[in-house]
């Protein structure tokens, strides 16, 4: 059949095919769309920034010969055992439950191989994950599913999660098809129910209480572990200031492109701000407090390449976290499963139904047969390969800018391709000295 546009038919920009399909789905089922992944709409992103490589006025470093270091220390503000990571790319929090045990193990293996950290999620810590993760960050979430002080003490750092980029202000969600017996037992829930997580913590309210809560976590772990505070990117400037005031060692800011295992489509696409807009707010807050680099900043949400890593660091982050990209490295949306994606009404490259537990790649599922498709050793190798590529790409760009450490990258190394990106990132529009909002 001839493409409708070739026949002179005109598609509505407002009621495009995705919008029409969403209305039809709502009318047919009476439920809103719940899916995984992060925001799919186009938003200003790192692609809208460019590096100014060295030339006459800056000296570059020789690739493959002159060192460009990548190590980072996280959490040395209060903790007696801060984290020393070899690369500034960490694995973001993703739960066992959302992911298979094999996927969690693979992430731990990959991260450990390159000397970085991985993170638990809304559902507690599994033995596989702890066993294979040299450096593991343990999340304290509103639900407290699986929260166990033994695991708190066994962790290398603690992340108090206030929100995530995919759904700032929303709680976790795990649909019944993924609440297997093991997941149900870890979360103290009946198997097979649609799990609703709280969006607010049960035992503290507001930043003053958070300071006391962080104090308790430090007391329980004898002041050894760094305490992170993670927020979804919204009012980032204020949130970061309050997190620092509450005693955070590390602040994690997750942009709207950050992924989720299951959230309402309307939430994913319409709440939060792009990470590009959030990083300068966070850095400004830290600088005003005199805490930039003393309280480390980890950013996430749409990190794909070493260029994204380098740009995030240049804007002032100390490290980044990856989630969706790590799953892709494991095999998510791999064309080898094209037929199975098609059979589910999706396609390789489009698959985002992480909530329904039928992931043919064995990653976002609790189905034993599907999970068994993912070899944790091979998956770990793929994750490690990907992390190394990200790091080498970031080093390449840093050397080109004359930096002996990727953290030496700075906003002065960047320009923006669009006015929007220039305003958000607070760097000049390419070829000009103009940063929108700062006058001419």
């Amino acid at each position: 059949m001839q493409d409708p546009s070739q026949r002179g038919l005109r598609e509505s920009a407002t009621f495009d095919r995705a919008s029409i399909a969403a209305i039809q789905h709502a009318a047919r089922t009476g439920v809103y769309d719940i899916r995984g992944w992060g925001a799919k709409r186009a938003v200003p992103h790192f692609d809208d920034l460019l590096f100014l490589g060295a030339s006459m006025s800056r000296y570059p470093l020789e690739g493959y010969r002159e060192r460009c270091d990548t190590d980072v220390v996280l959490g040395d503000r209060h903790a007696t055992r801060p984290l020393h990571l070899d690369v500034p790319v960490t694995i973001a929090g993703m739960s066992f439950g959302a992911l298979s045990a094999q996927a969690k193990e693979a992430l731990g293996r990959g991260a450990s191989e390159v000397g970085t950290s991985t993170t638990t999620g809304d559902g507690g810590m599994t033995d596989e994950e702890r066993g294979e993760s040299k450096t593991l960050v343990y999340q304290l979430l509103p639900s407290r599913y699986g929260m166990n002080p033994d695991h708190l003490r066994a962790a290398d750092a603690i992340e108090v999660v206030l929100g995530q980029g995919a759904k700032p202000g929303g709680g976790g969600m795990l649909l019944g098809q993924k609440i297997s017996e093991r997941v149900a037992e870890m979360r103290t829930l009946p198997a097979g129910i649609d799990q609703r997580s709280a969006c607010r913590h049960p035992d503290w309210t507001g930043p003053d209480d958070l300071a006391i809560k962080i104090g308790e976590l430090r007391e329980i772990t004898d002041w050894e572990k760094p305490v992170y505070v993670k927020v979804g990117a919204t009012r980032t400037y204020y949130d970061v200031k309050l997190a620092v005031a509450a005693g955070a060692d590390v602040v994690v800011v997750d942009g709207m492109q950050g992924g989720t295992a299951a959230t309402q489509e309307v939430f994913i696409e319409h709440v939060g701000i792009p990470i590009l807009a959030a990083i300068p707010q966070a850095v400004a807050a830290l600088q005003e407090l005199g805490m930039h680099r003393r309280v480390q900043l980890v950013v996430s949400g749409g990190i794909r390449t070493g260029a994204d890593v380098a740009k995030a660091l240049a804007l002032g982050a100390d490290a980044v976290a990856i989630g969706t990209a790590a799953l892709i490295a494991l095999g998510d949306n791999d064309p080898q499963y094209a037929a199975e994606y098609e059979a589910m009404g999706s396609a390789a490259g489009y698959y985002d139904d992480f909530q329904d537990g039928r992931d043919p790649a064995g990653i976002t599922t609790q189905d034993p047969e599907l999970s068994a498709r993912l070899d944790p050793v091979e998956g770990g190798r793929r994750v490690a390969n990907y992390l190394r590529v990200l790091t080498m790409e970031a080093q390449t760009l840093a050397r080109a800018c004359g930096k002996a450490h990727v953290q030496h990258l700075e906003p002065e190394d960047l320009v923006a391709l669009t006015i929007e990106a220039a305003a958000m990132a607070r760097v000049p529009l390419a070829g000009t000295d103009w940063i929108p909002g700062r006058g001419f």
């Binding site: 979360r187 103290t188 829930l189 049960p202 035992d203 006391i212 308790e216 007391e219 004898d222």
Partner: protein
């Protein structure tokens, strides 16, 4: 059923308790000691509302706090037996795993929040959100509890000898709730259920463990209607 503290059960520790005076040392020193205990029994003097007193205990020791405690007293307790001769702030025994915590006075918000085991006894009353997200803990409150108690309570038992405020058991899962006095408006998906013999029996055990002698037959039982276990747009008005 969590056991009573040895002291509560009338057993005396053969050794005199080690006294830690918070006039002389900070909470950090207190907790460092009870995390690697050199004694089996401790007495804490001059707590003066300090936060995180005796948080993170993971050995079977007795800790007697002589006065009022602040937030998160006995937080995440494992195996320890803590008695507070006074009132406590927010989050007493939050996420308790085992052991017991007995508060002679009143408790502020979120008492026993997310607790997974053990026994929390509040001799006086507890403020709002008592037993929020409880996951297996037993909580006995001699007085009343405030609004939104047992919110999203997943497992365990909450016994209220006085009244319960509005929103009791909102979005409750499988926890069992017992109230002797009046109950405000029940929370979403929380309903009254018949009090059968097995419930009277477990109530009698819980009341005995708490040192209370109410007649179990005076209580009413509440729990989940299990109507919100699966998403459907027809529940829009319930959320």
């Amino acid at each position: 059923m969590a056991a009573l503290s040895r002291a509560e059960a009338g057993e005396r520790d053969p050794a005199r308790p080690v006294t830690i005076d918070l006039h002389d040392v900070g909470v950090r020193a207190l907790n460092a000691e009870v995390h690697a205990p050199s004694a089996s029994s401790y007495e804490v003097l001059n707590p003066q509302g300090a936060h995180s007193i005796a948080a993170g205990i993971h050995d079977e020791i007795d800790v007697h706090v002589r006065g009022h405690a602040g937030y998160f007293c006995a937080g995440m307790n494992q195996r320890g037996h803590v008695v507070v001769d006074g009132s406590v702030g927010t989050g007493v025994a939050e996420n308790m795993m085992s052991g017991s915590v007995r508060v002679r006075g009143d408790a502020s918000q979120s008492a026993g929040a997310t607790g997974r085991g053990g026994l929390l006894v509040v001799g006086g009353s507890a403020s709002m959100r008592c037993g929020i997200s409880m996951k297996g803990i037993d909580i006995v409150v001699g007085g009343s509890v405030g609004p939104m108690s047992a919110f999203m309570a997943q497992a365990g038992r909450l016994v209220v000898c006085g009244d319960a405020g509005d929103g009791l058991g909102d979005s409750v899962y499988e926890a069992r709730l017992y109230v002797r006095g009046s109950v405000g408006a029940l929370g979403a998906d929380c309903v009254e259920k018949p009090l059968r013999d097995e419930h009277r029996a477990e109530l009698a055990e819980l009341l005995a463990a708490a040192g209370l002698d109410h007649d179990p037959g005076e209580f009413r039982r509440y729990g989940s209607a299990r109507g919100l276990y699966h998403f459907t747009s027809e529940h829009t008005g319930s959320y």
